[in-house]
Symmetry: D2
Subunit: 418 residues, 4 copies
Amino acid sequence: MQKNVIKDPGLAEEGEKRIEWARRHMPVLQKIKDEYEKEKPLEGVRVVACLHVTVETANLLTTLVAGGAEISVTGSNPLSTQDDVAAALANRGMHVYAFYGENDAKYYECIEKALDIKPNVTLDDGADTIATIHKDKRDLADEMLGGCEETTTGVIRLKALADQGELLYPVMAVNDAETKMMFDNRYGTGQSTLHGIMNATNFLFAGKNVVVGGYGWCGRGLANRARGMGSNVIVVEVEPRKALEAAMDGFRVMPMIKAAPLGDLFVTVTGDISVIRKEHMDLMKDQTIICNSGHFNVEIDIKALEDLSVKTTEIQKDVVEYKMKDGRRLYLLAEGRLINLASAYGHPPEVMDMSFANQALSVRYIAENGPSLEKKVYSVPAEIDQRVARLKLEAMEIEIETLTPEQYEYLHSWQIGT
Amino acid sequence: MQKNVIKDPGLAEEGEKRIEWARRHMPVLQKIKDEYEKEKPLEGVRVVACLHVTVETANLLTTLVAGGAEISVTGSNPLSTQDDVAAALANRGMHVYAFYGENDAKYYECIEKALDIKPNVTLDDGADTIATIHKDKRDLADEMLGGCEETTTGVIRLKALADQGELLYPVMAVNDAETKMMFDNRYGTGQSTLHGIMNATNFLFAGKNVVVGGYGWCGRGLANRARGMGSNVIVVEVEPRKALEAAMDGFRVMPMIKAAPLGDLFVTVTGDISVIRKEHMDLMKDQTIICNSGHFNVEIDIKALEDLSVKTTEIQKDVVEYKMKDGRRLYLLAEGRLINLASAYGHPPEVMDMSFANQALSVRYIAENGPSLEKKVYSVPAEIDQRVARLKLEAMEIEIETLTPEQYEYLHSWQIGT
Amino acid sequence: MQKNVIKDPGLAEEGEKRIEWARRHMPVLQKIKDEYEKEKPLEGVRVVACLHVTVETANLLTTLVAGGAEISVTGSNPLSTQDDVAAALANRGMHVYAFYGENDAKYYECIEKALDIKPNVTLDDGADTIATIHKDKRDLADEMLGGCEETTTGVIRLKALADQGELLYPVMAVNDAETKMMFDNRYGTGQSTLHGIMNATNFLFAGKNVVVGGYGWCGRGLANRARGMGSNVIVVEVEPRKALEAAMDGFRVMPMIKAAPLGDLFVTVTGDISVIRKEHMDLMKDQTIICNSGHFNVEIDIKALEDLSVKTTEIQKDVVEYKMKDGRRLYLLAEGRLINLASAYGHPPEVMDMSFANQALSVRYIAENGPSLEKKVYSVPAEIDQRVARLKLEAMEIEIETLTPEQYEYLHSWQIGT
Amino acid sequence: MQKNVIKDPGLAEEGEKRIEWARRHMPVLQKIKDEYEKEKPLEGVRVVACLHVTVETANLLTTLVAGGAEISVTGSNPLSTQDDVAAALANRGMHVYAFYGENDAKYYECIEKALDIKPNVTLDDGADTIATIHKDKRDLADEMLGGCEETTTGVIRLKALADQGELLYPVMAVNDAETKMMFDNRYGTGQSTLHGIMNATNFLFAGKNVVVGGYGWCGRGLANRARGMGSNVIVVEVEPRKALEAAMDGFRVMPMIKAAPLGDLFVTVTGDISVIRKEHMDLMKDQTIICNSGHFNVEIDIKALEDLSVKTTEIQKDVVEYKMKDGRRLYLLAEGRLINLASAYGHPPEVMDMSFANQALSVRYIAENGPSLEKKVYSVPAEIDQRVARLKLEAMEIEIETLTPEQYEYLHSWQIGT
């Protein structure tokens, strides 16, 4: 393996401090780590992790190492790597290929290097390593036990791959676990997206028209949090049931072309491309802010923005002004990359605790069941999902109700009626 | 067929007025009715409908009649029949066996009479006719095309029946359609339960501790609406993922035994029995109000309440005071029957519009596909579900976003990444 | 004094039951009653009470009687009198002149009769007795100790009177006590207005555009409660600071003429006249619902509605359809009178408990200080206001923080800085 | 005057960029600046500004300069100065004495230097210059026209001074303007406090118990925003009416000693000292976070925290761990100084726009009326307050309703009743 590609090894100490702070807020993962240290279920497992290199990821990877795994790490987004964390991971003996501000070429170069470990498990956040293997490194698939995918975006890609019969090894859709999707996507993206926007702009949410593209779990979380901060939220959605739900939740619902002239701030979380396009930019007000919190930086048509503008200026970190011919100024945040990771710390550790507990338990599941799995996209088993919820409730010191035997029986009978 | 069993035919005119008011607020059902009038897809179909006899139900049944069906109606709860509606339906030529304030014996007598129609489709709201057929009228199952079930409670019963291999004919779980469950159970039960409680007690929600038993769709709706009225809500739930969701939504979560001494008002919406028991009643404060909005009046252990009390007094309509030995007074609303139907009008017509659109389209689906279906519980096909959402959005004059061809393609490809 | 003018003395028993239920939810007033029974501070005081004749009012008046007062009662709105309560009050020995459904002539006739008691204190809810005295019975002012006014509307009238130097005796603006205005107007009107609308129409709030005229305490409460039920709320307001507050609270703010074509439901709570006029009605959608929860039925220009319509039909109790020339149907609720009293029970007793505790203590204040007061509008003294809050918190079993001596001193010093 | 005391003049360019970004979000102040440039109402006025040295303050001071004033600037908190802004202001020709991380001695030294300008107007944010003048520089009071005070805390100090008859010159309580207090204190502190906490800790608000000390405008804003992010909020308050309001708003209300063992996060915004004391710290859970968003760092008894702990560690920027004898770890943020300024950018410019518009107009008011004012604490005139609201609504492109002549007349008459 090549030596690490990181910004500055000297940042390790700072990284360690922050990783420790996160560790204290990830009690579920901590319990699993204790278990893994004793049982060593991952001996001989080589994992390539293409994840946002954050303090929470550091704790996931350390859990896998505790279980006996060998780890190779690369970032899952050019702007999300925390360089101090990358340094700390290298210091802990992992192979690390990630630094903040990679360009796209460097980004894929890092993935290639990380794959030199010859992994038998892939961890993805956006399916970039799986896609790389399927495009350029198909021989690696032979020894593969399976993969885990963390995002809605990635699951969409993998299902497309499976539908076309081209998936080369089994993958767990960790994203779709209830304890991942309903918590990480909703509460995590909801809060951290607002946080990123505040850091970049010090935007006052109260009294503003905020347009949210997408009303999946991310969009639901985001719309509710923005309302909780006093914004008047407009939802743009294509699926009729979700659109109806947004309306019933009290939001205005309309197509993007109608929302374009109304919004003070636009945030996309759809998992699709070109959600905000030229025809929308043409209608926006002066000083409109545009950003994305979906996985890839494709949701805003940045090319169109560049074509429309006569001048671009970096106003401050993560804020670029695009001046239109008619004098209007549109502000694009963080180059359209996910604002919560680019301008804030990503999801709080308590949320990642649950998502990564699903990851850690799914890696074990793959290690133990991989050879018998088919080449398709699997759900996380309900037992894993419920176990994560129980561990989390325990950590929060929340006790819940239990069914009496009589209640249990009633739920499984049909005779008793009016 | 025997002649109708209703309270007073003279109430028909009043009923007609109210049915017409509801009709105007059920545009989706109206569109389906127009279609059915032209296409007559239900000719020769005999339907027994064991539903809450309300103005909304009247519009569902009239839609089925427009499609050619013959209808026999009975109530699905002794306290939910609106006598003026029963009279109007009789007037419109249906067979009606329902009146407000039936006792349990009369209730089942009415079901039996309704079954004299020799139905080939059953519509249930709590599975009472299906259960009756399975217990006492198994021969009726032979000519049956299928059934529809409207409630969580009923679906639980039917799945128990199917799991035991004893289900005699196919049933559509209309309850589980997204456009039913997420709207009717959430927004409908949420609002109408508060309405029923206000009518019975003029309870001020602001500043009160409200304990909600169950955090399914009904419980979610109820907890949110109570908070929206200023209550401090405590959630009691057995499923860890739902309990965790409630906590993350900002509610206090605890077992009923801990909530018992804190609540000013308790509402159960679990679908299970004996959710509030003797040990809880023992701990409640003086003047605590207890009620139920789940389908059956089994969620509160009324027998225990009677055993504990030294005196019962009807304070006013739908409010009975149980005086405990220690002087505490507990108030039970509407005999523990669903408070939104007993003390208010049930769900608003706009909500029932969607639920009943699913019903109307499912009856047609059964009429057309019944013979080829297996004896199991079916989901409502996604096409029906989405069609209902689309029709509803149209009626609300809400336009939604549409995918561009490029976006559609992206969602079905896997190559494009970072 | 003439004998009582009430609907039916036989309703007294029903009224007594309901008054008792309210009494149990008015613990603050109850404590004051206990005190008054011992101290008899109102001996020789003759009170004319022009108030909504509800179960809560019954408890206020009974408190005054306990203090030694003689009472004459008349309704403060033709549609708000609860006939069973009127009967019960007569039964308790008060002079009662009020029945549900009075016309305007009868309404003023009742006020005149009530004044035969030759009051030295007036209690008003809209200033109608005070206005009557100032217009037609100026001699009564000579023996008057003072008056109390319960509503924003009434206080507006009285300040106009005082500003013109024409006020004949001192009046306490009970409405403006914090424990009245911020609670009764906000939480009381908020909840009970929704309750009245649900009773009249079974309107589903979720997903609807609700236009609220006025963002005073009533409007704030109403807008928040409607949002809490899932509505998308639009606020119409004339005062720039209030309008700005509404915007910052996340509501859309616009002039009525812009809101007119958007609303599904309009509610006025401004205290002003003709808030909804011909030009607005011209733009409203088919099936729009219009109602008022401000004190007088002048906020909607009913005359304009009649002029515009070609036909009116009573759809059901409290709902009249006005058919426009172009076929649109507008629904007016409760003849434009306050919907929470006409179609529901008015404010819950817990809220009225605080308002009426202010009333009861203010009557004593007038009895003790009246002769030394000037002919102007007085605020309720802060001590009364805070005492009401303390008694209420005690009744709710809520303990609050207390200042340490050090903290108290700090708040009264200026030396300590950074 | 001595030369500037700032961190690094080289930061000026960075500061200019950020000041310009803020300027674009302060349209009201901008309008006033345009007016001042033309009318020059502040010629000859020497202002000492003891304010948080932020981008928003920079725009206020530039507005005053436009009006002809000469400015001397010092920070109003040792941890709130933004060094790039200080550099930019020096560059713009003001006298600047402020840098991030001053100790208390340096802090007061800077105030003294700033006073060398011999001001005739003082602008304070916490009353530190006024207090300094009253303690040590009483001769400066002779030429003083007046002062402006921005905070609740400062107004408390000044009223104490005035009550004792010791105030040496007139002061405008800018804090108490509705367009300041209800917006800055509520929406500004609400959002920016959460922002600071997220920056320092990446705390997940959803599902956490957040204890808010104080339910004034700051506390109301903070409690609502925390709830909007999914927290379960507990309010601690001494004033019974405010405590009752908090309860009616759906929050739990209790004394600090009861809240101490429940909270995951404590935030104080009372304006008083020692709100969190030894007896509370003794009861807190392991890993509890404590911070302050009130003006002075006296709300948390830091001395007690130090006495209780056996070891302190800086975990990361703005987070210090205090290890208790029993092993519990308490985290104090930003040394107990206002978290929104220490760990975030303070209030968003849109909010400061209104507060500082009041400041700018109040300085003019003092310049024009100072000699005729008494030595007391004045309210901002309603005309200024309403003008600020109108300008803000215009900037937000929100049009509001206007009274018809008939409506205006109605509001000023008393004859029209039922």
